[in-house]
Amino acid sequence: MTRDLVIGMAGSGGDGVVAAGEALMTAVALDGYYAMLTKSFGPQIRGGESSCRLRVATVPVPSPGGTLDVAIALNWDDFLRFGGELPIGGHTVVIYDSATGVAPDQIPVAGVRPAEVVPVAIGEMARKAAGTDKAKNTIVLGLLAGWFNLAPQHIVSGIRKRFAKKSAEVVAQNERAFQSGLEYAEAHPLTSDCRLEGAPADAPPKLVTDGNDMCAAAAIFAGCEFFGGYPITPSSEIMHFFNREIWKHGGTMLQAEDEIAGIGAVVGASFAGKKAMTATSGPGMSLKTEMLGLATIAELPLVCVNVQRGGPSTGIPTKSEQSDLWQAAFSAHGDVVRPVLAPVDVADTFGVTIEAFNIAEHYQTPVVVLSDQDIAQRKESFDAIDTSVFTLEQRRRPTEDELRDYLRYRFTESGISPISHPGMKGGNYLAAGIEHNESGAPTANGEMHAKMNDKRIRKFRPLAGRHDLFVVDGPDDATLALVGWGSLAGVLGEAAAAARAEGLRVKTLVPKLLYPVAADVYARFFRSVQAGLFIEQSHQGQLHRLVRMFVDLPPGIESLARSGSNPIDAGLVLARVRQLARGLQQARAPMVEQVG
């Protein structure tokens, strides 16, 4: 029995492995399990090879996991194309379609001998039970349900719902295929025992979605009434969700002619008084830069989501990276502070997106949300979110009194001035990208420019005290530390837990506010620390270097940074933590001798 199972599947386009993964995801969520589903596709848009990876557990799932517990190949060649994403280890059970022409002792995985190799005539079973190859994925669902104890009732009701629109015959075919897989598994038990423990009987109902849909839903919850964007992988689903939902809320969306127009319309909507958002990925973010500067100087709230993908330029559109941090923080001319936030998983995307709107509205500023392809496109099952805990901020409007001698950019103590919008009598002003005085009138006066810069930067000071936007975990006086952000937060937590189980004193810091750098939070966290790692999916370790611009870190802090499409897994982090711990011990040893 196991509490945590990682299943990887791969096949050709028509094999439906992703559909099988989705069906399984829904079924286990209904059973009350936590789960995470990641998908991967070959470069071909339709009909190419595809894979998915499902991690199911009785406890929240922090990451996609390392090597697979179960590998399912409808075709070996396709499976091997995903080598880095679907790694096989010594404990893996490999199940594959025997028609593939590979013998069990030939399973071609360099240097690894899987625990068990099970050839099954998957295609033949599909043809026999359903009369079509198309049912191969349903056979697989039957095998998984039988061998690993995975939600058979919910899979069957899922099949009924999914094919109800087609015909009774298709439903029956798929039910037969499922049954045939199930019976096969029961008749041919595995030697390894990796049946999944039942979910706790009182497991609360789970929600299931991905980061992109969550981001759009959060924006609508936050009161966003306008979306402007341009399609780009992997952010487009945010626009799709808005398009389906926003009209129902009396709002509008625009698929613009390019990213500049997309964010331009958002700037306009914000000027007109509405909460507004745009979403994009790498190259689109580059195009939006000039408009972000405009919104900064015009002091207009807006949220700009960048779902990071591999870069630079078109890079790898379908793979995750964390390499746009410097761009988010610094790609502006002139003196600019632009708040940057990052969610750590699908559920967290809800709160972080709302926070982005709150910061945007409160400080009258563009805010960048750095999501990443991993969070954006993976599905998670998680506990229901209590929406009543969120408060929503609105930009500060001028009162009747303030409208009598209204100055849009009035110097206030906080640096925040009440903002009017067209339609508001007495609030008329000229917004501009050009420097202006308190009323908004253009000026080239150097002193005024310095004062305005000071106003625009000073207003962000309270962000430095937002300890609530940082997650600290572990013993306060730990000497070892891990820092990571975005989708790597789960990996980091998993590695820290494993290290603690080995007796190492490790604490973790996960910033959700990446910029401005809250120097105090880092300084306090690192006080007890002698060695540590910043874990990041970028070549240059962008957060590590960004933090060092503002904070003096202790000497033993290193960067574990890697770009490339194969995510950093907890095993790799744990290995480095052990190394650091050994280093600390060795450094301490001679000291003991001296004292003695």
Partner: protein, 292 residues
């Protein structure tokens, strides 16, 4: 109870900001014409949003009492569309230079026309870059010598009138401050037109412009389309006349679609009304993620 009906006159739209255009710049006349047109229409200044890009001409919103937004170079149209979609009740004006609209911002014009929001787009076409001190513009005639074409331009100019007619614009007109009454009239008509209206204004640059483009020369050669007996509901005839851009100076309405049809914001409101019944309260947005 008595209702007070505000009546506005031209000077109600004139701001306290002193224009920094060169004395004699055509843009002075354009802003005057806009004051007049707005007074005839009578919308309160705080219900007007006046958006521009960057250039000498783009300073124009600051000289009015409307809500103004002097944005970045070439991007006034997307911003204006966002404003109109966010609040369709506003009267939204957009203005800029020929460089702003047809060079850097050229890509946006086709789409603003295609989307057909109720905006009025005024280009102050001086065939030169004024603000950056006299470089080639997309409407500069071939052979013109400028700071960036010392030996004469080697490019064909764009024809703004033909461009927008080709893109399917529903209202296309041309004016010049050399004929103030005519200019104020086309601006007013453009604003009243229920959809995207394009107005090309031959607004001369006295500092870097060609001699034959100045107000005096324009006065001699302008020809009102009305006096030619042109039928503004005939798009092909309008395109024919538009061919003369750069040689003749026709003023007035080239084309006015007699059946304007719904605007983008009309369609958006229709869709909102259709789907309103399906609205879930915000607290329930996450219900969509409950598996079944």
């Amino acid at each position: 109870m008595t209702t007070v009906v505000d009546v506005y006159v031209a000077k109600d739209y004139k701001s306290d900001l002193k224009p920094i255009w060169c004395p004699g710049c055509g843009d002075f006349g354009v802003v005057q014409a806009i004051y007049r047109a707005l007074a005839n229409i009578g919308r309160a200044p705080h219900e007007i949003a006046f958006i521009s890009g960057i250039g000498c001409s783009s300073r124009i919103p600051g000289y009015t009492t409307a809500y103004g937004f002097n944005t970045v170079h070439g991007r006034a149209l997307p911003i204006a569309q966002g404003i109109k979609l966010a609040n369709p009740e506003l009267l939204v004006l957009v203005a800029g230079g020929d460089g702003d609209g047809f060079s850097i911002g050229g890509g946006h014009v086709a789409h603003a026309i295609r989307r057909n929001l109720d905006l009025t787009y005024i280009i102050m076409d001086n065939q030169i870059y004024g603000l950056t001190k006299g470089q080639l513009s997309p409407t500069s005639p071939k052979g013109m010598k400028t700071a960036s074409s010392s030996f004469g331009s080697m490019e064909d100019p764009v024809n703004p009138l033909l461009y927008v007619l080709g893109y399917g614009a529903r209202f296309v007109a041309q004016g010049t401050p050399a004929d103030m009454a005519g200019l104020a009239a086309v601006v007013e008509e453009g604003i009243r037109y229920p959809g995207f209206a394009f107005i090309n204004v031959q607004s001369p640059c006295i500092t870097y412009g060609e001699a034959d483009q100045q107000l005096k020369a324009q006065k001699q050669r302008l020809e009102p389309l009305a006096s030619l007996g042109h039928d503004p509901s005939n798009r092909l005839a309008a395109m024919e006349l538009a061919q003369a851009y750069g040689t003749k100076l026709y003023t007035g309405v080239f084309y006015r679609d007699p059946a304007p049809g719904p605007t983008f914001e009309d369609l958006a409101r229709e869709r909102q009304a259709q789907l309103e019944g399906q609205r879930v309260t915000r607290e329930h947005v996450l219900d969509a993620f409950r598996p079944e």
